[in-house]
Amino acid sequence: MEAMTHTGATTGEDDLIASEYLTFTLGNEEYAIDILKVQEIRGYEPPTLIANAPPFIKGVINLRGIIVPIVDLRIKFNLGKIEYTPFTVVVILNVAGRVIGVVVDSVSDVISLTAAQIRPAPDFSGTFDTKYILGLASMDSRMMIVTDIERLMTSADMELIDNASA
């Protein structure tokens, strides 16, 4: 599936096979991530602080006996208002054999995208490095940033893993 989405520019039989993506919003932007990486979605609860951790790492929570770190992507990408309400959502991801929680503004829906629908993103620099973007997809008038969430979460930028790859 990875291979398929990477070859989004070319056309072929693979382009007709659709994969499902979970979309969520951060501020005004809408992101899509591979739904198979998502373990569950739950409400926000105040985590236990981790000393001297970067501000976007909110701390750790107890997820049925597993200690799970919580990352607030809004802080990381400087998007939206940072507030925690009963409606704040945590997406629990299962990436690279680890369980990580991600705070987002809201979860929109689950969509099907074929490789053909995912367009390569223009090269731009900024906090959000393009190497984590698989492409851009449009549906109706919405533009969704299709993100390689596994690569993002295991990157050194996120400071979640010792000896993380660059």
Binding site: T48, G65, I67, P69, E159
Partner: protein
Amino acid sequence: MAIDMSQFYQVFFEESAEHLAAMEALLLDLDIENPDTEQLNAIFRAAHSIKGSAGTFGFTDLADTTHILENLLDRIRKQELELRADMVDAFLESGDVLRDMLEAHQGRGAVDPAVVEAICARLRQLSADEAVVAAEVPVVPSGEATPAVNVASTRVFDIQFVPTEASAKGDGVVNLLEDLRAFGQLDILSQPDDAPHGVGFWQLRLTTAGVDSDFTDQIDFVADNGAWRVSEDKSAATADEFGFFADAPGAPDEEQAYGFFEPLTERPLGEIAATVDTASDDGYGFFEPLPAVTPAQVTEPTALLDDGDGYGFFAPLPVAGGDPLVPPVLDEGEGYGFFVPLPAQLPETVVESSEPAPLALAQVPTAVASLAREPARAGRSAASAAAASDSSIRVSIEKVDQLINLVGELVITQAMLLQTSTQMQESAPERLLNGLAQLERNTRDLQESVMSIRMMPISFVFSRFPRVVRDLSNKLGKQVELKTSGETTELDKSLIERIADPLTHLIRNSLDHGIELPEKRIAAGKNPVGTITLKAYHQGGNIVIEVGDDGAGLPRQKILAKARERGLQVSDQMTDSEVFNLIFEAGFSTAEQVTDVSGRGVGMDVVRRNIQAMGGRVEIESMFGVGTRMTVRLPLTLAILDGMSVAVGDQTYILPLSYVVESLQPEVDDIKTLSNQARVIQVRGEYLPVVVLHEVFNLKSGWTDLTQGIMVVLDADGAKAALFVDALLGQHQVVIKSLEANYRRVNGISGATIMGDGHVALILDVSAIAGMAKSNMQKAG
């Protein structure tokens, strides 16, 4: 369709490894002069099983080697060959080769074919040349009038001890000497100058009719564990013996041992009297009626014994029926006879150690021999028999861990429910509360039993040491006896795996540095055979493992000199324990020369580091010339920790209780600063560096003034520090969870746990925090 055998390989490897381990244990346990048939059979069976399954799985090299081994074993077992020490050596070595082969088949290492060939050739050689020797086995003619034996009449024990200060100052030693005199003749071979109230080395010799267990308790009371030993002087005892008995419980080897009694078993009962008559005439008669013998049969020989004027040993058994038997025997008080009825002890031992034999009388020598020479043996064989019949199942460790995790969840959920119900207070129906109380009990029981699955007896580690000691003592030319106790003490499997290396190191160290060469030992008035004691027991929430030796002890002056040489900060005023702890410094060795066993100075520091990594501690006690004892203290499990919860701001942290010395509310005057940066606090005349947790962790504390909070004094491996927290909350047993599984290492944090309310609390890494204190001080200084 062919069955894929490879899926069973793992089972085969595990089983074969177990068989090899069992074989090794049995070989080491084997009494070479008098091998127990049952043990030989067990060794044979182990080899046979390996051969069988190796053949099935197509590991022909394994099967071939085992086949040769098995052939030799078979001949010994059938008594075609006599067992010799070099055979046991060869067996042990072939066991090693087989183990290497197993490893090689699992893809670890390789086996040198030359080694395999060499061991096979050696086994064949042993099998061949033994045929000659076998013909020469001395056979005691059955009719020979070897007098019956009076083995147990007197035994000579060498007793060595160093009394504790308290007992020496008091009347402990005086009382002990009196007690011992009551048991028999007591000679004082050496005593401290200021006896009987001085702390020093006592050496006694006790000639008694009793067994050592009668008086060891008294000695234990006076002297510290490990600071005393009792050994039987077999040579002195044999001087009083006539004839000989072999101790082969359950394996009557008539030719060798029971020649005299043999006629009995074949004659009609009527003739017994006559035979016993001869015995008593000879003066050293020994007769012991067994429960199987009816009173009628017993009376006759008893009467004859009454007339005998000798040194007969008569121990009537209460079960033997006619109780009037006892007094007449006791009346016969002449000479140096041994007429002690042992009403309680004897019957037990006899019943346990004797195996069913065709004739009741044939049991007599067996029972007596084992009783007299090695009373403990019966108990031991009974214990091993019990172990063999234990049934077990093989479960992968992941399944067990999963179970433990799930139960951990259950415990947390239960605690949450309980908390909710207490918040509801009166509005909660009573039935709900009762149910919750019941649930609490059940979950606690469930957790305990689930945790016990991971617990394994420490014998898994101990069992490898007889071999280590045997090989090493041969290599070093020392005579060493290894004594183990508390093998059934249980601890967590992960700890078992990790404690093996440090313990091996400590034992090698004791053997190499502790125990002296036999000549030196004799010159020092010690038994030429040194003793290494390995002991495990529970104490509080810890497991304690002691490695003791009765060797030379640690040379304080030499260690100090060496430390100075290496530029360490030492002084003559240091206490013994401080001096001894120097040997744990990296690169420290007082050995004059480097052997391949030890002396390179790597090792003891690794031992200490490994043990500390397990959350344990190691202590040394030593007395020059008397011995050394290393005590290792470990937590029972790595999964649970005794913790103290402390509050900083709105966060809760757990401090491992084992590091906490005390906690106090500081006064303004107690806190001083160094160069206006680092703070120190005066606690009982000692200045300790202060670590302010909310500053270190960048948290908001409820207090701005240090005098409002609490200082917790921590002792991390000798480095003390005071940790400032807002408040102490309580004490808990917490289940340790890894923070690194989903996150990364955090400085100052060793793990996480889940509190009763479902929240996560982080466990503080005390060593790292003490380190922070140190670096603060260095910055300031």
